[in-house]
Symmetry: D2
Subunit: 371 residues, 4 copies
């Protein structure tokens, strides 16, 4: 169960970094939807390594193969499981052989062995960010369903790298603006400073972390669920399942803890144009009691600095010797730019699942199937 | 599914604030464990309202009834579902009648109606913190299993209220120290300042939020799971399912985003005493790749200020009129002290579930059942 | 997880035979539906023991308490978990004390101890048919939703007892006809013979088994799911979860295994009246490829003879001694009449779940929630 | 969720008959087990079409590709998802084009369209028996774990074809004996009569059904779970998820319904050799109260005759015209011989899942993971 996510739009991923391939099976995708090859490829391109000096030089074409679930002639989803496969073409196991016997600090090498007694040593195995290629593809499908069926739009961006913070208008920012800089920060001044910070770290064999912010616009009121199925809870789980994520905020997050209720509460009013219920402020980030209120959904995710350093570190081996390790091979000095489509994907998976779950919330006659 | 949590130690809660009662069904509790009445009652007492001027004067004895799952004579868990019931004795529906037609700002009134078309108006219905009494009881049972079977110890405390931050040693703090102040902050100076901040807010009909920190000690290496079943993801979901929670951190959390890899990485070494693998620092908070590494698990949860204010606020009614609302009745000016056992309970639920899940991680002959 | 059933209309039952009570939590009931007190009570009355000499004299009023999930003033479902509780009033633990140390043949005493190391000895504990009171209540709610939202009607009857077979027209039989005899067989001649067979067995301290047949009418085409979610698979699981059930058939069942394809196939035709696709025969029992085809759903369930005998039987004790046991207390000589509403309840749970699951089968804009 | 099976050993299958391929993802396989290539290939060979005149001439090499979850050098399971892929090499879509517009009687063509609005027309799409190749592979892995960790042995055989019944000793029959006839019936006389019955049906363009029986030996007492997780319920669901299955029996099944309790009950005794609790008879089929009792597990599954006939049948088209259809292409006249490994696979999946679930049944200190 640990490798599946979602209740009705259920994604199961598989694959190790340097095995035959990675992929996903999506069970519960509604039928009759045009499979969005372009949207998926666009998000895969944004996630792909080798995009420039900011990211790892590993070359993976990330060619998407759809094994099932799409009508071969009509290109529509069938309602049956959609299996996606990405073969690992640029896997270079030999780079990693010397690492097989030791545990890289702040990687999952030791913990996987503690749990399973062995691990796929090459490239981090199952714990590699390579796994996220499958989620990004599944998330892009979810995003396409959200756009087509409910008009929802999701945009994420790099809001901080190291100690550089960006100033971005969450209500208006677009993906085009995000992609205008290689660091995926739509604030040009901050973007320049972020790139400088990444370069400075890399020059010292070091790495940096940062923060991604994400909005989902036009989420209708009434998505989410009580108690453990809260949007807040499932979005948190979604984001904290991403490699290197360390913290999650909804709406004002930690800043809310320092506010008074009179500052933080979002007063309701009636929109004169369409008679809908709106809030004058949005400290809640679009979610109240775990259910969407129709305002823009806002969240943030913090990523730790990349654990792989090109400088010596103390560590230990499987047979309990203390040694020193220094990375070679291909590694991002900063995961933030590539994590932008990952955050968008995870947000889309949660929202698509709740779009479907909302359909059974009320006692209404069934639509669809007739004799 | 939205009201259930956990895979093997699965808790389903039910109940509205002012209905007949609230409770939980725990499916998957291992058999043969002495049902921990004392531990459960102790945690319920810490969660109970009416503990003093810092919390709501609602008087609920929170008397625990165990309907099933415990051997009536021997007091041992049976392996069958354990149903817990708390009847609502001090429910005063009449206090809330005037609120039935309007949506209180930053409560779940509007969003529940958006989803379900109606709601249990009195006391917040299903969205009330009353629901957490069932989780605290279930969590105390989980905690007892963790202590008995694996020696795990969980301690949470109030780390911040409004703009007051406490200074607490996470490695050594005890529940006794936490409970030495009514605000459940083990730093006496900070505790006094927190109480002052709460009093100041209450005097103005206002409310405050804050931060709870939590540790779990002696979690063995190897609990957790890959990808979506990461401890980090499930702990985040657990904490973000608590009423009023707005943010979650594991280990250094948001601070990690500003560090370099060389600062944040936790170098491994071999413990000379017992030959185990340890880390010299613990920025990771005891979790790497979603799986425990044997160090102390550290997390934090931010809570927004209480939404119920004793001062006028703008809002709207069900029939789309703009009105003003001012709270009456019984409400906490600050949820933090009572949220301490809630955070402990949710941490225990996640860890107990993974303690059980770890049992099937490896290909070993089955223990237990024989002919 | 073992005590829960259903994906979207999810029922979790709890309780031992002679503990404080038994009950159910229903998570996922759509909101806004009038809680069907009368239908539930009617089905509970049909399940109740003490209905006459054919069944156990145990007197349980089976008074239904609804703890949550229903609007207290309006009587409508809230969309939140519906908790049902039946307290055990006529539990007579003392009758069973002598049985605590031995394993009754063909009961679950030994197997529960093999699994859990202990059991609730009195009355069969969790394995007692007492548990089914909660399912019957939950099933009656499901049935009411099916009737209100989709016009589905479910009727079950006793089709065989011992070697007596009834002749019943599955297309036209009604619950009134079923209830016209105490043995719940709508074929009067067969009913008389069944009663005689039950009386003859009882006179010898013996028991009998039998077969229940069940139809669901007006199930629309398109309910069900591929592969493991087939209606056939979930109905089979539902029925085989009932105490004493030993076999399941869909449509022609075992008889189909002896037919040729040319006999068994159901040719399609177009209904001249409404243009719908129909089948001229219904050997398939209304299900093809696991999905309903719009014809009457037909199934059968075989129940073994009651295991409790009022005559001596060889058995063993917990401490491995060979002894003789003879029942005392209150026990049905034949479970079939009371099992009729249980079979209806389980059919309703499966169909209601699939009614809700069908809502997310196709890519259609969401209904319901708007800003 | 409909395409997944199992709680802890969770198998998700994907794929359409004439798409790119079919496969499975197994989440929850314990780590450190040697991946059983030989056992899997052996069971695949027994399931493969084209084994002779008794089955379809479709030629699929069924070459197994393992995409993930197995250590590339050591051949051990990693504990991570095991993805299996079978590409469709002999898919001949053109044979089926004429069928795209009509609904074959007693196939799933119509019901899939009623549910999803479209279907993969070629070869039955997702409803094809092609899907079972993935289950047979996953089941063979489960069977290998059962054999290695608990000594369980599973054997199924063809017990009836059309009106021919075999006489087989369930306690002693072996797979070698089963495979001694092409019809997989270990009773030589019955096997000859079955082959004659199949030949006779084929000569008339007709088809036959039959019954498969299956035993699992050395299942320890204490596997299974209460209420909805009963072995009986899960085995029934497993078998009724197989294509063309129509009925399920555990132990004496329908025959039990005609017995008296004094005939059907299984008296306990103490085995003088090892002091274990045994039963003198095994009418229960090794399961009491849904939990294994240590005796041989016995079940039966009825399969309807193959729906594809080489003779004209009445049917209708998608645009509601009445037409006649006659099959061409490649189809089995009888699925029974190939269904033998499918029944074994499904039994193995249920038992392997419960072997793992039994590990968390009791409150015992965790094994395995240490610091």
């Amino acid at each position: 169960m640990s490798n599946s996510f979602g209740a009705l739009f259920r994604v199961t991923t598989f694959g190790e970094s340097h095995g035959a391939g990675v992929g996903a099976v999506i069970d519960g995708c509604p039928s009759g939807h045009a499979f969005p090859w372009d949207r998926i490829r666009a998000q895969l391109a944004r996630r792909r390594p080798g995009q420039g000096k900011l990211s790892s030089p590993r070359q993976e074409p990330d060619e998407l193969r759809v094994l099932s679930g799409v009508h071969p002639q009509r290109g529509l989803t069938l309602g049956t499981p959609i299996a996606l496969l990405f073969t690992n073409d640029d896997a270079r196991g030999e780079h990693y052989d010397e690492l097989a016997e030791l545990y890289r600090p702040s990687h999952a090498d030791y913990t996987y062995e503690a749990r399973y007694g062995l691990r796929a040593e090459a490239g981090g195995g199952r714990a590699s960010a390579r796994e996220t290629v499958a989620r990004v593809a599944a998330g892009a499908l979810a995003e396409d369903l959200l756009a087509a069926l409910a008009g929802v739009e999701i945009v994420a961006w790099v809001a901080a790298v190291a100690d550089v913070d960006a100033d971005v208008d969450a209500e208006s920012v677009t993906r085009a603006a995000v992609d205008s800089s290689p660091v995926r920060c739509p604030d040009p001044q901050a973007a320049a400073a972020m790139i400088a910070a990444i370069d400075a770290a890399r020059a010292q064999g070091d790495t940096v972390g940062g923060v991604i912010r994400c909005v989902a616009r036009r989420v209708p009121a009434g998505w989410g669920a009580p108690v453990f199925g809260k949007l807040s809870a499932e979005l948190a789980a979604a984001m904290m399942s991403l490699p290197a994520s360390r913290a999650f905020e909804l709406g004002d997050g930690f800043a809310a803890a320092r506010m008074r209720g009179s500052e933080h509460n979002d007063p309701f009013y009636i929109d004169r144009d369409d008679g809908t219920v709106r809030t004058r402020t949005n400290h809640s980030g679009g979610v109240q009691g775990g259910i969407s209120n129709g305002e823009t959904l806002r969240l943030a995710v913090a990523f730790k600095p990349v654990a792989t350093l090109f400088r010596p570190q103390d560590t230990v081996t499987r047979d309990r010797r203390e040694v020193t390790v220094q990375a070679r091979g291909r590694h991002d000095p900063c995961v933030l730019p590539r994590a932008v489509p990952m955050v968008e994907a995870m947000a889309a998976l949660v929202l698509c699942d709740h779009m479907l779950r909302a359909r059974s919330a009320r006692a209404e006659p069934p639509s669809g199937a007739t004799r």
